[in-house]
Subunit: 289 residues, 6 copies
């Protein structure tokens, strides 16, 4: 009887059932309460895990295989519906425990606000932290319709915590006039493009601890229609994969990562969940030490 | 040039462009922040209006025509994303103005929590108010995961305000043990069925001001799949229409009504929006004085 | 090599490849140019044929098997896009040839206007013709926005041709005030219900040639969401099947039939195409002599 | 850190993480290789578990709560793709272990062929076994296109093993002429209907060990479109729930059960998964001892 | 009470409620009667407006904000279903009034035939008019199955009116042999590509009044699946946006524009409506004076 | 009466009803029994034919028109459900007959295993055969979960039959470590890319008989979501079309071709069927002699 392997079909492909040996902890963050246009990313983590089964465990890009790595899938963090404050607290508490066990947190969202409490915890452990942010939206507002805890504000809060000079944004193609002005003045800002400027920037981050946050909508909606705020004019899935590979091959030290904003209700073909799963596989293989 | 009729395609079928003569005000309540399972009812009002165009203006059931009535479609109330407290306040303020103009409010949700601030305002104007509630879920919790303002609590709050003896529930087939015990002890509670007990109850409400709230999930998911918390074993669309007609033909005085929980993301055939539009047409024709 | 059977998968289940021995001719009428709400029934015939493959060739209701009958599937009539006048002419010409070969025409629509030219031809061959019409909509307008050839007018034109006393409508639950008044005064009109009044009426039609036209929207949208003008409050698929069986077991002489308004773009589950295919199978088995 | 509860979101609602105390074992059977029309039920078990989260743990019908019961969700049995023989063997081996631990197996399919190896094992432990079968299709063929192990044959094989007089079929509305003749002559056969004949039959099974197998397509496609071979004219979800309750309240001893043929690719609204989850909840609450 | 802002959610994002100050008039043209393959673009304008809400009002490409411009959304022109002749007349009459008020018409289709009456009116006001046409299809037929007013003919009629030397086509990758021969001989014809030849051509149009018509199917179906006649091998959304920007930055005088052929029934992810809305935002910001 | 043209709407666009004069035979191979992730490609051939109607018969890329060619659409090969061995035999027998009639077989899948029996037959007639394989997956396993006849093995079997030096793979981006090692050592292997290496390789194949097999998943899922194992990071539809054109213009002798793995259940927009149909049109025009 295979009761011990019973849940094997419900975790990310190739996950190890034992936490202790794992170097990396995958976890879902099923929160979407502050999404203004199309909610539903609370179901993103489950569908990304399910979609991961279409993939091979071997990455020909990196010539590595998931079987060579040890990682644990912790399931979804239980979060209080509709309460951003408490949710942000719970996420932070979870990530803190992962970091105290000296494991790398690899989160699957959920809306982008979740990156704020994650980075706040990571920053406690890595004071020189820099953030690499791939997204269609700047997420640099001070508030959204008066709310400070919003899917539109996390990078602004992160910039305030780390210093804007430690934030690197790529692929941005949407925001308010104020966000673009702030971005151009204060942070490392590379709108529209991803791979070319990323390759230029990476050498300057050599040896630094880096947190990587990817909003799936950095892809054009053709490649990732299942997301809350699709923004046409984005990059192709091949470019996003190459960007992950460029970071993996660079000399930065990735200390945490996430991929957010997969919304299954707008993904009837499952293509968004599949591309998200592939990006996470490459993160697992490329970022794990 | 028809600029004056320009918006005619974007309002509920047959709506009158002038507010002042209108007896009834249709309004959308695009809120779904406290929905725990499948969000998206924030888009419900728009799609119900669009779907209303498939209908005739004439109801053969009631032998009345929308052209004989005067009603205004006020569009959607602007609500602050993700903030139940402020949203509840905004909804109440809107409904208060409608009532002060001596017009009947007819709301399209949005999640069911919206009924709480509406009824609170209506109750200020009609002290003998009774509530007729058609739903799959009792919505009688004192809180949901600690939150008092939740899609699972509005009827409990209403029962506390009006006295539980003024709440009549029909069609309920889901809830916690505590909700069912509370319902059986304190309110007028007719689970599973709608039409038969409703017809029995209506004479006892003769002459009373009544607020009617319909959660579209009182229908079986076969008839209304596009909703946040589908619950199999529900009634058919024919029975729901007959229930509206029974109220319309009774001697109660309907002073307000709503239909909530239409979630377009789970309604690829638009059938949920269409049945919701038909129920609203019958409410307009049957409840307007 | 099975080149001779090559198309077997593209015709209605069990169709005979030879026209000459066939008693019945199935044909598609891919027209939807006058549909006002949701077009797309031009693809109905193809998807109904495809869906027929889910069915058995045996009907336990009638204890008959398609293998005992000889019928031919003539494919779709080629029609000029967007031109109702010419289309109506082409349909009539096709049906005329079927009738001249002494075969029963069994059409798959396409919008309901197609029934007008069909019945006009059938009437030339059967002067005592009566029409049994199952539908949600009365289709009794004299014109629709000024157009006489419209999906909203065919039964009025038929009533004028045959005399309204030869038209029997069942299940109607939508129309203008004028249509309902006309129907109640002039034709045999049984709104909302189908099976009960049909069983009462059939004996009076004993020995008469009868044309049966079924709009799939006589079903509630729960049973047939994939249609142009869904109208909630309809009958169940079981009742529609029983209605066909009642006609088949009666002593009327069915001389032609059609099933119309299947719109695949609103049928992601294919359930509308499947129920349409089953109704056609029962018509084939029950109406063929 | 909640790593111990980590998988709570990926099992059937309310499942107990410990096998040993469980009375009932839920397991998925992700097989669909012999499905002839629309495959995809291999994904059924996962989506039914996910959909179970929309439900309450309390059943007002039975006045029982999942928290009062102890059951384990064993995940999906790993099966060799495309190999019916080996799959049948694996399923049997799994069920044997569940039975040896004196637990009740409650399976989620997957195609209906899976019931054959399950019943074969159950029969080894309960020699007086009777089978109650709710389905649209008789599944009584001796073979399907020459294959003995097919989704069209399991009940025939079961009838041969147990004796046809121990097989009770309800709701059947599709099959070949031969299947209907065999059914009418040899087994207890109640086509088209479910609840009425079931209530009549149950007293005669008093005290007998009974296996209950439900094909979700016993429901009309309006209630369960997401299935491989939809067959219009079926029962409503309310009737299916009542049937489960009737068995639960009878004096038969249910020793195992399954629900099969949920195909998510044809279930864009998730309504089929939801009704399946509710039926399984009622089975858990009603059949567990 | 916000009744004066009531319709704000039903118009294109940022639209001004007053016509008189507006420089540009957005209007919907809900016509699809001559579409031969997949109809449904009659619902395009409504869904494009709804999708516009996902966008910011600021364009980082053009460094302009909708709040700096004054434009009015006139809603959809009421058109007679199924009647191309009358529809063409109504469209022309509407555009004439817009032009007489010295405002720029910006249309949302609807099928491509609508461009014919629009350009005919624009030409009356701007005799030196040139047309820039971005499309997958040449639309240069003299007739389509005998019909002159067809979605396949508008550019031919425009070429006859303006002189073919005033027509510039980009991105064409489908047509008959005759259309390609005509195009290569008579008009400025740049098949397959858009941005490169457009940038070459624009200087030669300096100072000329230009009408810009974009068929959304110039995009590859990956970027715009929701259209009537998808044609693989098209350009990416980034290239289309750049093309609009190139025109905006050139020295031509854009005197009108449209975007046509968005068909929501084939757009379950809404990605086509979103990219159409973004193109219209860029047209508004880039073409308005 | 057009009974002789009756099936014209159910075959690939422009197909000739007479087999004998045809140079090319199109045939469907409705098999998907060994697909491990998402089955359903058994319906691929029918939907590709239906989608072909959106296309023109003229290819501007090749300046050829289907009317200049003679080809026959043989429909789908009848295959025994769930039986790979017999299916492989039937496919081989069919192709043998096509080849004996000196016609080129052009197959539409169905899963990729079908290419194995096809190439085996083609190889009997063309001993110098080379295979050009465009795919996301190497399909080079010796077995899949113990099964030799699997969708994951056909190219390995082909390499063993023809000699690996006669196999040319392009676009591969997924496989096991073993497959990539085998590919790099033994066959002509060009991962990730298609057009550039293909153009380099073609001159070396001058005069050779070549079989071309295209798995639609060589395209990125953005361009072909409706497939069994979508793999992000693929090529664009424009590149695939150019690859077909490059082969057509080269001096190889194409003696057979197929396009496989179109799965309509995951293709709600029909975009996958449409791009498949266009590739087949270009194969017909470019490969036919």
């Amino acid at each position: 009887m295979r009761f011990d392997e019973a849940y094997s079909g419900n975790v990310f492909i190739g996950a190890n059932p034992q936490l202790e040996q794992a170097q990396t902890v995958i976890y879902g963050i099923p929160m979407d309460w502050t999404v203004s246009f199309r909610p539903g990313s609370r179901f993103g983590p489950k569908r990304v895990r399910e979609a991961s089964l279409v993939l091979e465990e071997f990455s020909p890009y990196l010539s590595r295989d998931l079987s060579e790595f040890n990682y644990f899938d912790a399931g979804d963090i239980p979060l209080p519906f509709g309460n951003p404050e408490k949710s942000v607290h719970e996420i932070g508490a979870f990530v803190d425990q992962v970091l105290q066990k000296k494991k790398m947190p690899l989160g699957i969202g959920g809306e982008h606000l979740v990156t704020w409490p994650i980075v706040r915890e990571v920053h406690k452990h890595y004071k020189q932290l820099a953030v690499i942010h791939l997204d269609a939206h700047a997420d640099l507002r001070t508030d959204y319709e008066g709310e400070i805890l919003s899917h539109a504000t996390p990078l602004r809060k992160i910039a305030q915590l780390l210093g804007p000079e430690n934030v690197y944004q790529f692929g941005i193609r949407s925001g308010t006039k104020e966000e673009f002005e702030y971005a151009r003045e204060h942070i490392h800002f590379y709108p529209y493009e991803v791979l070319r400027p990323l390759k230029e920037v990476l050498p300057s981050l050599k040896g630094r601890p880096v947190y990587v946050t990817v909003d799936i909508d950095v892809l054009d909606p053709a490649f990732a229609p299942g997301t809350g705020t699709p923004e046409p004019g984005g990059i192709h899935s091949g470019e996003l994969l190459e960007a992950i590979h460029a970071i993996a091959r660079s000399e930065v030290e990735v200390v945490g990562a996430d991929l957010v904003e997969v919304a299954p209700a707008y993904d009837p073909t499952e293509q968004t969940a599949v591309v998200a799963a592939k990006v996470i596989r490459e993160m697992l293989l490329g970022f794990s030490r």
